[in-house]
């Protein structure tokens, strides 16, 4: 667990400390009038605290989540942020469901550190399983309070009253109070327990339905303001001088020409060199006018990367395997079918279409920063540390942003904008260029995975050994029944700055495991689906495999040299996935194209089937990039392909026919769906390629557009 967190928060989040509690008076000031609900020691937080954050205690006392104004408008406050995953909609649906109000009555206030309760960030598919129940509990408690308030006014037993459509109703007389009429003029604070009875999913009327994306119209008219769209009075534009390579030192600098440009201010503070100009184009021009020479030390690149990872363990790492049972050497020695294989996973970039951006404004000692981040409170704490401020002197506001995919956890652009704004004495906007985004953000870790496995002739797995170097321990455990296992993550030094990513290590571990399972099935001459089912006990995993295979017509999909069929799947973060892929190999056997993908999915009770399908389909498309062609090329501290022209991402022509099968388990709690939908695609495609060509592709990406020195070459291109 500790290792995963270090991967999620690299560099180590400087700001996670006990000072992160929001100030109670600020809260009440913000919410003048109306109903304020607080929750005592939310169970969702208790589960996440301590274990995940090295003993850091999350706030327990003041947490206001819900505000009902006199006019009936409802505001819901959460530190989770909307990055395209559609939680602005799905969380509001859940609140509307429990509060008994129309969906449209709710406005979600998200990711504004002055307005919302502390939150560690939006990652790990945690919003749905933790924030969902949290807000549902608050909404249910609020509804019961409102009923009690009406009962007092009418002098009736609350049990005789009902609540619907934002009103408390007395069914006997049909008289009613709107929620707003009940809260008007009253400031109520109630501490409630975490065990409020919630509506079962089977009875949902608003949750569980395909409510269209909240504020959807603003996205098709260009009205929605992303972080990079924010403007402030007298705002200037900033840009930062970047080194020639990683770990470089400044040898010489001449800023005279830049300083002569009209309106330009050069900010030189130690290693930090930036410019501020009245307009964005002028800022870029000023940057180009600076003459700087850097000394870049020799450092590892793609050449020899995987040997580097294998041979450079991180100091002081935990040497205990994640899973150990029986004796792998003995079971392997006596197995009928054996397979040993290395898998290599390249560094890849998040490449969110909106690059990192921030607008910073200093006002009477208070710093306000609008920025795109998945961790508004984490960025606030970075700013607190960078400028030696107290938390109440910093406000971070996160407008719904141009996505992140795990790539926007850190506050780099926020700190840069704040530094420049401080020096300029005016608000400053910083928007990273595409090549800055490709170079100075962080990457999904590269990884080396070694697997050896053994099975009996009848297909029963008996031995499984899995070592992952660097990419991470998420979903490293096999979901198949194996009596003898040794499964271990090895933390290593990383030549590149690395961090969180959608599906992080789960993608790598699933690719290796599911490719290996396919190899084992072929070695045992058993159908790959049958081989898996033979070794699965978990009924939910079995169900997704069977559902995907049925929709895909797996049993009648027989490979030819031109068409291949593959299957892969697994589970992580409460989501179960199985993916079938059909690939086309051109007649010369040189190029691969994915024609059709069927994916079955179970994450418990579905909150919004339309949003969920959009997420899953998007995950498949994003997964195509990492599976076939995305990879970062680097040497001597420089990224060699920091442009979309050189770093290929999936486009329209790469998109296969996609069919999603949802298994809606209304009897089970809802889990998140942002990440695990990504992990089945790569192995399904690799296994499909094998079925057509007999060639096992063991490196991600499997079919880059061109061969590059330092990479293992692939016989296929994409």
């Amino acid at each position: 667990m500790k290792l995963l967190v270090s991967a999620l928060l690299d560099p180590p989040a400087p700001g996670i400390h006990a000072g992160s509690q929001i100030d109670r008076r600020d809260f009440l000031r913000v919410l003048a009038g109306g109903l304020l609900i607080c929750l005592r020691e939310p169970s969702a937080w208790a589960q996440e605290s301590g274990r995940a954050f090295g003993g850091h205690e999350l706030p327990k006392d003041i947490s206001a989540w819900l505000h009902i104004a006199a006019d009936g408008q409802i505001k819901v406050f959460t530190g989770k942020v909307e990055v395209g995953q559609n939680i602005r909609t799905s969380l509001a649906q859940q609140v509307a469901e429990e509060l008994h109000v129309p969906f449209d009555a709710i406005t979600m206030v998200m990711g504004d550190t002055d307005l919302v309760p502390w939150d560690m960030g939006t990652f790990g598919s945690r919003t749905t399983p933790t924030m969902g129940p949290q807000l549902r509990t608050m909404a249910a408690a609020a509804r019961r309070m409102l009923i009690e308030m009406a009962a007092q006014r009418w002098n009736l037993d609350p049990a005789t009253l009902t609540a619907a459509d934002g009103e408390v109703i007395d069914p006997k007389t049909t008289r009613s109070f709107t929620y707003g009429a009940l809260t008007r003029g009253e400031k109520l604070v109630k501490v409630v327990s975490a065990d409020e009875a919630l509506a079962p999913a089977a009875n949902w009327k608003i949750a569980g339905t395909a409510v269209p994306k909240a504020e959807g119209r603003d996205f098709v008219t260009g009205k929605h303001q992303y972080p990079s769209d924010i403007t402030r009075p007298e705002m200037q534009f900033g840009a930062v001088l970047r080194a020639d390579g990683f770990n470089a030192t400044l040898a010489s600098i001449d800023t005279a020409a830049a300083e002569k440009l009209p309106g330009v201010k050069v900010v030189h503070d130690g290693d930090f060199i930036g410019v501020v100009a009245p307009d964005a184009f002028g800022a870029q021009r000023a940057l180009e006018a600076i003459q700087a020479k850097w000394t870049v030390p020799p450092q590892p690149g793609n050449q020899g990367l995987f040997e580097y990872l294998k041979n450079n363990p991180e100091a002081g790492q935990d040497d205990h395997p994640q899973h150990a049972a029986g004796s792998v050497p003995e079971a392997f020695a006596s197995a009928d079918v054996k397979l040993e294989q290395l898998y290599e996973i390249a560094y890849i970039a998040h490449a969110p279409l909106e690059p990192r951006a921030a607008v910073a404004e200093w006002n009477s000692g208070k710093l306000t920063v609008w920025t795109g981040t998945q961790r508004p409170f984490g960025v606030r704490d970075e700013l607190v540390q960078a400028f030696h401020l107290s938390p109440d002197q910093v406000r971070v506001i996160q407008p719904d942003m141009g996505s992140g995919y795990g790539g926007k956890h850190t506050g780099d652009a926020a700190i840069e904008a704040a530094r420049l704004a401080k020096a300029a004495g005016k608000p400053v906007k910083v928007v990273w260029t595409r090549s800055e985004e490709f170079t100075w953000a962080y990457f999904r870790p590269a990884g080396l995975i070694e697997i050896r496995a053994g099975a009996r002739r009848d297909g029963t797995l008996v031995a499984w050994e899995h070592h992952n170097y660097n990419s991470g321990p998420a979903a490293i455990g096999t979901p198949y029944n194996v009596a003898n296992q040794l499964i271990q993550f090895h933390a290593t030094k990383s030549p590149l700055r690395q961090g969180s990513y959608r599906g992080l290590a789960s993608t790598a571990n699933h690719f290796a495991r599911e490719s290996h399972m396919d190899g084992m099935a072929h070695a045992a001459a058993i159908d790959p689906l049958e081989f898996r089912l033979k070794n699965i006990t978990d009924p939910r995993l079995r169900a997704v495999f069977e559902a995907a295979a049925e929709k895909f017509d797996w049993s009648r999909s027989k490979a030819t040299p031109a068409l291949g069929y593959g299957i892969g799947g697994g589970l992580d973060k409460g989501g179960y996935v199985a993916t079938c892929a059909e690939v086309e190999i051109d007649s010369a056997g040189k190029r691969v194209r994915i024609r059709r993908v069927v994916q079955a999915w179970d994450c418990g009770a579905v909150i919004n089937p339309d949003g969920l399908r959009n997420q899953l389909s998007g995950a498949i498309v994003m997964g195509i990039g990492g599976a076939l062609f995305e990879r970062i090329l680097f040497a001597d501290g420089r990224i060699l392909n920091p442009h979309f022209a050189e770093y290929r991402v999936p486009r329209f022509s790469d998109t296969p026919q996609i069919e999603i099968v949802l298994i809606d388990r209304k009897d089970l709690p809802s889990a998140g769906a942002g990440e695990t939908g990504l992990v089945g695609l790569a192995p399904a495609v690799g296994n499909a390629i094998f079925s057509a060509t007999g060639t096992r592709l063991v490196n991600l990406p499997m079919a880059p557009q061109a061969h590059s020195p330092g990479e293992s070459d692939s016989p296929l291109r994409s």
Binding site: V83, G84, Q85, N86, P212, K213, G216, R217, F219, V220, T221, G222, K223, H224, Q225, Y226, S228, D229, T231, F237, D279, A280, F281, A351, P352, L353, E354, P355, D400, M401, G402, S403, Y405, V431, T433, R434, D610, G611, N614, Q615, S617, G618, A619, I620, V621, M622, H643, F644, A645, V649, P650, R651, F652, S653, T655, I658
Partner: protein, 159 residues
């Protein structure tokens, strides 16, 4: 620095900028029309697409001086008298976005495509839209939205 009067969404807007400054930068940073997005500045992602005399162009690679005597339409000008265009309406109905950052460029590119081909084939759509990246991977829905918009326009024209 030079003075320009740009015809943007039917309005004549006065601005001062270096002639070589990209139209995208002028729209976003000088005219505060932020619906058009910066994605790469290299003509590779399509987020900055605008119409110049009805043609879809990458505003990040178009110097403002080259746009001076054209009719510029940005996403803010696609809506007509408060009513969504068929393409906008179709994107909304199909839910053809996730984070939505590519949506302006997608809608403007699709608008130009449907001007050229009222009823485009799947291949024509893919070819016309290939330069627009949706990193969230919403391509299947965007394809459906463009087909829906084509049907809506055809139905509207025949009424």
């Amino acid at each position: 620095m030079a003075e320009f009067v740009l015809n943007v969404n039917g309005a004549h807007l006065r601005t001062t900028a270096p002639p070589e400054e990209p139209l995208l930068s002028v729209l976003r940073n000088r005219l505060n029309l932020t619906g058009t997005k910066f994605g790469c500045g290299e003509g590779q992602c399509g987020a900055c697409t605008v119409l110049l005399d009805g043609r879809a162009v990458r505003s990040c690679l178009t110097p403002v001086s080259a746009a001076a005597n054209t009719k510029i339409v940005t996403i803010e000008g696609v809506e007509q008298n408060g009513a969504l265009s068929p393409v906008q309406q179709a994107f909304l109905e199909e839910g053809a976005f996730q984070c939505g950052y590519c949506t302006s460029g997608m809608i403007v590119s699709a608008t130009a495509l449907l001007h050229q081909h009222a009823d485009p084939s799947q291949d024509q759509i893919i070819q016309a839209m290939e330069g627009n990246i949706c990193r969230c991977g919403t391509y299947p829905r965007i394809l459906e939205a463009i087909k829906r918009a084509s049907r809506m326009q055809t139905a509207g024209a025949s009424r």
